[in-house]
Symmetry: C2
Subunit: 344 residues, 2 copies
């Protein structure tokens, strides 16, 4: 399955997402459905995040990790009931891993991929738009909570979530015909809100510090090496495959942010101190809001101890970079954002 | 990863493959590498085919099945040693399933995806071409056996195998730079053999009865439902996840062949007896050699008991089809193949 990456231009899409409302067909975000008495046990085995207090309808961003502490995926977990969870997966696969684990551990848990096609409605006007379709009840959904809504007689899950920091919802469309109808209705009822089609936006997600599996993180990185420390419940008394290893495994790399105060054309993805390569850019973009070049860099930790004078190679020579923790804190960086149209 | 499907035209590629020699970049055929003391145990768990007598260098076409008997993949298994196997996978994934099983069963087996980019050299002149590069030793490799050859100082595995019935080899290229060099050398040394680029060919593989995972078979079919009976060792005393279920699970569908003695344009993929849908075409092609339309059809078994008068719907109305077992036996079907150029 493919996912679009740009509709008009990266920058036009960016401003539109930040100011209006976009409808994203993120069907590619497949659901791994787990049902049966051992569901909760299997889900907990896969993640070091403590799920023991999970409530019905609650959503969890959670690293999935194998027994070495390496990441497998970073999905949104959704609890329908103790015996029924969805893993709304990110840019890699989970289905066969969950299936293999269930079989190997002899768990009474059925792992399947139902036909669910998530539709993300993102942007500051998303709530207004959805309330015109699902009613005012939509505004009662708290962040990372979900609720079931009736659409043309069919129940669909709607969660306040999505892969942007502009606010919005994800509708878990479960009927292909109704999906088309819903799409049309979103556009018809959102005309005055300047609704448009969209997709995860590179600029927005880097500014917001949202990581992409396969690029910014992978099988060989731990959650700690991806800045996902707060999603690892190190002290929890839970049965998780990775927790023991994560308690002792030493981080080798760290994902940091770099900022360059002007436009640059990189020659390659390497980041240097002197002539030593100390890291590699995993994602980068020009920020039209802050007028800076932003990048995520995977750095060797040993080189970061007294990190200074980092630079990259560009078509106009070596260029110094500022380093910072992720997500970017623009205020601390002394950067003031502009609104669209005032761009230099 | 993508795989090309046509170079010149489906039919030109077909004749070229059957008469000359083609080089296929089948890097997409990823290797799942399993190493460690429990390797053989893990591989055997995944397949109902008895591997206990496997010899070093031997290759096995084998269905991988889960504990319900449903297929996960149909790879070529290659035994490097008791503690080292490759699963050279077909059109679906295996890595995470193997990894999950190893973890769940607590096996001492490491599951990884090494960077191996298989290069298939297929066609009647493949042996001549490879002997010009690897020497006459290449002809000593028996069918579905492999041996290690030295290429520019690097050892590479070469097996007599490949996804066509035209003969040939698969070279498991393990060095990206040498891969390019080898590609160029194959073309330079094969000029007089009319070597050309190629890829699995729809016409050839249907004529030869080679099935494609995801189309002709899937998670919900057993090997028996795909005509792979001979790869299930029902009486073997082996530890295999699926064997118990496969001994008792009743087949619901069967993959059969259909033949139509003229060109047709299908309206859809359904196959009928009277007004009842009894099956669905999973793959089809026009055979330029036999001047017939050939298709694989997944049929409901209950409808096949006294199957006669099957038909499909075409743009020029209902057309009767002949049904046959797979692979197609053209002699029994009374069909005589022609050589290229004599085509009607």
């Amino acid at each position: 399955m493919l996912l679009p990456s740009i509709f008009r231009s990266l920058e036009e899409d960016y401003w539109h997402l930040c100011e209006s409302v976009q409808v994203w067909d993120v069907s590619v975000q497949r659901q791994v459905e787990i049902t049966g008495p051992d569901t909760q046990k299997l889900v907990q085995l896969m993640t070091p995040r403590d799920l023991s207090q999970a409530e019905l309808g609650q959503c969890f961003y959670a690293p999935l990790c194998d027994e070495t502490g390496g990441m497998i995926n970073d999905p949104i977990l959704i609890k329908h009931s103790n015996n029924h969870w969805w893993l709304s997966i990110a840019d890699s696969d989970v289905l066969l891993w969950a299936k293999g684990l269930a079989t190997g551990f002899g768990l009474d848990a059925l792992v399947t991929e139902p036909d669910i096609w998530p539709l993300a409605v993102q942007g500051p006007k998303a709530e207004e738009l959805l309330s015109r379709i699902f009613g005012k009840e939509i505004s009662k959904i708290l962040f990372f909570r979900s609720s079931t809504f009736n659409y043309q007689g069919t129940k669909m899950l709607v969660a306040r979530s999505g892969w942007s920091k502009q606010g919005g919802f994800e509708i878990y469309v479960n009927d292909s015909e109704l999906g088309g109808q819903l799409w049309d209705e979103l556009f018809a009822k959102g005309e005055d809100l300047n609704v448009g089609p969209g997709c995860p936006n590179l600029i927005e997600r880097i500014e917001s510090g949202l990581l992409s599996f396969g690029g910014d993180m992978g099988y060989n990185t731990t959650p700690f090496e991806c800045g996902l420390d707060k999603y690892v419940s190190l002290d929890a008394d839970i049965e998780s495959l990775s927790l023991e290893e994560l308690r002792t495994r030493k981080s080798k790399t760290k994902l940091i942010g770099i900022v360059i105060d002007r436009k640059v054309n990189l020659i390659d993805k390497r980041v240097f101190i002197g002539s030593n390569v100390v890291g590699k850019i995993t994602s980068n973009t020009w920020s039209p809001r802050y007028s800076v070049f932003l990048a995520f860099v995977r750095c060797e930790l040993k080189h970061l101890e007294d990190a200074q004078n980092l630079h990259v190679k560009t078509t106009s020579g070596e260029v110094s970079v500022r380093i910072t923790d992720l997500p970017f804190d623009f205020e601390t960086l002394g950067l003031t954002g502009i609104e669209k149209g005032t761009s230099i």
